[in-house]
């Protein structure tokens, strides 16, 4: 039927038929069908008590818990980054005492689970009933409230991780940059501030973004000391009304909202610090792709060259 007829002089134009991707269609249909079935069974599942989810989604104590979660995340990240920079500089310093102290700190805080650290700091008063010297001391428990213990544990733990990220960033800047800066007469501190750190930021920002997202989720561990954050407050309602599962969904919803926002901010920041490089073109993975890409960062080639 499709063969050329002999009467024609000119050969008929080739009837180019796209390659049939039957397999692709079948697999796509299967996946969509499975997803639809899953979605349907979740949406219509009475055990999930969607009405309860709706009832508490915007409950004031849930929202308040979400605010506390954000507060804890922001504060402990800011303090953790500062601490991390100090530790990284110590680690890279020529002074063996500073180097050793920094290494020891990392050894302890990276080597113990953050959940254990949270319980440890919460009960600090067992070891030191009062903090300070003589008449200048305060009751430990009044300083280390549940929120205080949470902030302390998360900050100290984060400092250790940020130290390694910052150190990696500083080391990623070619030694020649420092040498050139020195040759131009820049001081050590100035070289760090004007030459090394701006270039290091490109390496530091992406993993730091990951740390923020991880931190946001880590705050849920604070339920063990009742820090009034999102998960604790969801638990309270769940335990009172025996609506444990729907309240877990409520908590999941807000964690997802918050991490989504953070991911958007992260990709904006990354683009800013990637200016002036081949990675800096706006065609890197977009925020949406990033959101679903898990921990994978951009490919080495980065965007449309």
């Amino acid at each position: 039927m499709t063969t050329q007829s002999p009467e024609r002089v000119r050969p008929a134009p080739i009837k180019a038929v796209p390659v049939r991707r039957t397999g692709q269609w079948i697999s796509a249909a299967l996946v969509v069908a499975v997803l639809a079935a899953l979605g349907w069974s979740i949406a219509t599942n009475e055990n999930l008590q969607w009405s309860v989810v709706g009832q508490y989604l915007f409950d004031s104590s849930i929202l308040k818990g979400a605010v506390t979660t954000v507060e804890l995340t922001v504060l402990s990240m800011l303090l953790g980054i500062l601490l991390g920079i100090v530790l990284a500089v110590m680690r890279l310093s020529a002074n063996p005492v500073l180097r050793t102290v920094s290494a020891g700190y990392l050894w302890f805080f990276r080597g113990t689970p953050v959940l254990v650290q949270i319980v440890l700091w919460f009960n600090l008063a067992l070891v030191f009933p009062r903090l300070g010297f003589g008449s200048l001391s305060v009751d430990t428990n009044s300083v280390i409230s549940a929120f205080g213990a949470a902030l302390l544990a998360l900050t100290l733990n984060e400092g250790a991780y940020m130290a390694e990220i910052v150190r990696g960033g500083i080391l990623s800047v070619d030694q020649g940059q420092t040498e050139a800066a020195h040759a131009l007469g820049l001081t050590g501190a100035r070289t760090m501030r004007r030459i090394v750190l701006p270039q290091a930021m490109r390496v530091i920002v992406p993993p730091t973004g990951n740390e923020v997202v991880t931190m946001l989720k880590t705050t849920s561990l604070l339920a063990v000391i009742g820090a009034e954050e999102l998960f604790t407050n969801a638990q309270k309602i769940g335990a009172r009304d025996f609506t444990v599962f729907p309240l877990l969904l409520v908590a999941c919803f807000w964690y997802l909202v918050l991490t989504s926002v953070l991911t958007l901010v992260q990709s904006k920041l990354e683009r800013r610090f990637a200016r002036g490089t081949s990675h800096g073109a706006p065609a890197g993975p977009g925020a949406l792709q990033r959101m679903f890409a898990g921990r994978m960062l951009r490919s080495p080639e980065g965007g449309a060259a």
Partner: protein, 304 residues
Amino acid sequence: MTRTTRSRRLAWLAAAAAASTLLTACGGSSDAGDTSAPVAEQTMDQQLHDMLPAGIQSAGKLSIGTEALYPPFESFAEDNKTIVGLDPDIAHAVGQLLGVDVEFTHTAFDGLLTALDGGRFDLVAAAVTDTKDREKQYDFVDYFLTGQAIVVKKGNPEGIHGVTDLCGKPVAVLKASTQEKLLGQFNDDECSGNPIEIGSFQNDKDALLQVQSGRDVASFTQDAVGAYNSATIGGGNQFELANTEALLPTPVGMVFQKEDSQLRDAVQAALEKLIANGTYQEILTKYQLTSGVVDSITVNGATA
């Protein structure tokens, strides 16, 4: 006393006053019927106030640790901030008699006694079972009696009637609780050779959830709590008590550090007065927990 500490104390007092207004404004949850009913106000008893340690007299506040995921003993009210239940009602009445404010703080059950050791709280009121083992480290002022309950799915599909029916089966329990320890003892005695698979959970409702989901055949908890949950959850159609007779009745008490005997005695005397003036019975009736009524308040009355 420096100026800063004094002004901080004033701030505390103001905060405590604000908190107590809040408490009266929105005490009680709708869960257990008439639990929002106010308890008779107590007037301060100077004699009892004088029994308090000087530190608490001057602080004007009793700081109490609890785990408020455990109705009807303690849970969060609708505002998800106020802690309500049998223990808060009793403690507030005690506080009124002693002439001090009462402040409840929630934390995980397995961390409560450690936090008491660290001085975070003056005492713990969390339906803590008084046992001989715990008495080695703490003093108990016993104000309630409870047996243990085996809570199963409605209809008792596994046909469980007593401890021996649990042998070899998965059972959920609150982590660090006396019930968890009892299950371990059953495994040494009644169930030796065919041990219960003990699943320990962060709070009592998480344990109960395992019964609902079918992971565990039963949840082992305090009688009063099991009865309350069976009667209230899902309109009483989700769970039931499997054991027909009372199981290992033990006293429940407020927990004090050993060196705090002065505070312990003051609280005991205040509780005695609540029994004498009928408020204690009134509170138990309010929560339908009269099954656990005691005639007198004992110190360290553990039976096992």
